[in-house]
Amino acid sequence: MTFNELLQKASEIKGSATDHRYKLAVLGNFATQFLVKALEASGLINGIELSVYEAGYDQIENEIINPASEIYTFSPDSILVCYSSRKLRSKFYELGEDQKSNFAGEFLNKVEELTEIIGSRLSSKILFCNIEELNDNVFGNFSSSTRLSFLNQARRLNVGLMDLAERKANLFIVDVQDLLVQQGQAAAWSPSLYINADLVYSLDFTVVIVNQVVKIIQTLLGKFKKCLILDLDNTLWGGIIGDDGMEGIEIGSLGIGKAFTDFQKWVKALMRRGIILAVCSKNEEVTAKDAFRKHPEMVLRLDDFAVFIANWNNKADNIREIKEILNIGFDSMVFIDDNPVEREIVSTTIPEIMVPDLPDDPAEYLQFLISLNMFETVSYSGNDAARTKQYQEESKRRMFSNQFTDVTAFLDKLEMKSLVRKFTPFDVQRVSQLSQRSNQFNLRTVRYTASDIERIMNSSEHLHLVAYLEDSFGDYGLISFVILEKQGADSLFIDSWVMSCRVANRGLEKFLLNQIVAEAKKMDCRQLIGEYIPSKKNMPVVDHYKKMGFMEENGKWLLELDDFVPLETSIKAKEESLRE
């Protein structure tokens, strides 16, 4: 039955006798007028004359806590409480990591408290809508593995509501999430094909599922998106800032600004997850930057972007420059622009980059981009959130390095300190992630999951080391690791040697080799065996072992430890106690 049919049917029987009269209060964190209209009509059709009290917009908590509020004079038979998942998500985005991971718990505490307050003042039943389990795809399928994702919290919240309903006799759940699933069933399942051929998913829904499976596999293989490049005018806000001025652009309360605000909140959530943001816009740089510095309703701020390019050059050229600065592959970038002509130029010039065909209506941007699940991941660590800051430090380093002609003098001035130690539980996520993300400085391109790393950490057959690096500009964090496995009586085979390309040419690999040798000697080993397996992207390390003094023999690289002389570097050792 459509909304209109419901209202018409109700108006036909209006005035006729009803079996029951019932008082209902409606409390929502969104505009509830349509809900109320439909409730009255549906009640009437089913023989109940509903007398409805509608609380003010987004007044759920106030209405219940304040003993003087109207709900208590109205004294309803039932109170309908509806929280919109979308509105909750919008608030969720503004929370810090600790609050995010305890979002459902806090919410449920509040619901329990509100239930008790109502119970102490009224005998009303509480009809509580559970929430739509919306995935914003900030973490993709990895949402299930991290409490920092909204979907993860939404599900916990719904499970918690079940527990609460089991305990509280006056609490009844309206299963909104189930209604959503039932609507989805129509597209995902066909009863006749299930009966005839045991088809549990419709053929077309099968496509949707396998695409996600393949996406997870791709991500496990190290192929995923790391960077989001954004246009500004009519992409991050409505209007053209050069023409309309800062006061005239649509964001927040102006025009259809809500669409852009929601979009920016999502982009910010991606940034906090570790996606690097860059701007590529045709604008005057000062005008464009001022919007992020000064506009009171701008969600994104200037320091959320690792690279900011606003000029009148060809966008493909600008994106090449962004690639140079970030030192990542085009295939790990997404470019978002409302202008089909710009999209066409970029996608034909740089075919590897992903350029989604944004819908015409900005109101559709967000749902469309979410549906693409562009930022699937198989890991998350606290380091990810700091990535933008690290890229900003890197651009400062670049400017500093331009003052030097002599490399060694530059390296000495950086005052680098490194901590090298065996894997600890603290390193597991980050090591796994580094193995998945690093393509250039990766000698054998072995990808490890967190459970692989845990297994290696507890194996007596392995030598494993991580390296942290910091310098006068900032802290790189964990940026390199090696995994070696015993081979024969006194040899160690280098199963993996991985380093983030952000610290290329700093001499860290030499510093690490010195440590490897020292540890290997402690294990009574006399030889290291290295191997280079070429991939599409690891050309930069083709001569790595040669440069480190290894000798080639039958396709492998050997280093005799007895002859080894420690290599010179500009890096000083850092004591563990200082870091923890």
Binding site: S192, L193, N196, A197, L199, L203
Partner: protein, 77 residues
């Protein structure tokens, strides 16, 4: 819609699903006459025919089909 036209449309779907342009269907064609028409492709054919004609076949209907003519009759109802 007359049965000849329905037959033509079904033929087009068979050619596309079974990936063979040489398929030619008659009302009395059965699974034995059409190479590649097996229990798996049958389901794919049903789904495509439902989409093309914007119908949902009943479970019993699908089980009763022996020939192309039976499918045409279901659609011509």
């Amino acid at each position: 819609m007359d049965k000849e036209n329905i037959l033509k449309d079904i033929e087009t779907i068979f050619r596309s699903v079974l990936n063979k342009d040489s398929i030619s269907l008659a009302f009395d064609s059965s699974a034995n006459d059409v190479e590649g028409w097996d229990s798996i492709t049958h389901i794919m054919l049903v789904v495509e025919i439902e989409k093309k004609f914007k119908v949902r076949f009943k479970a019993r209907e699908i089980q009763g089909w022996q020939t192309i003519g039976d499918i045409v009759n279901s659609l011509a109802k």
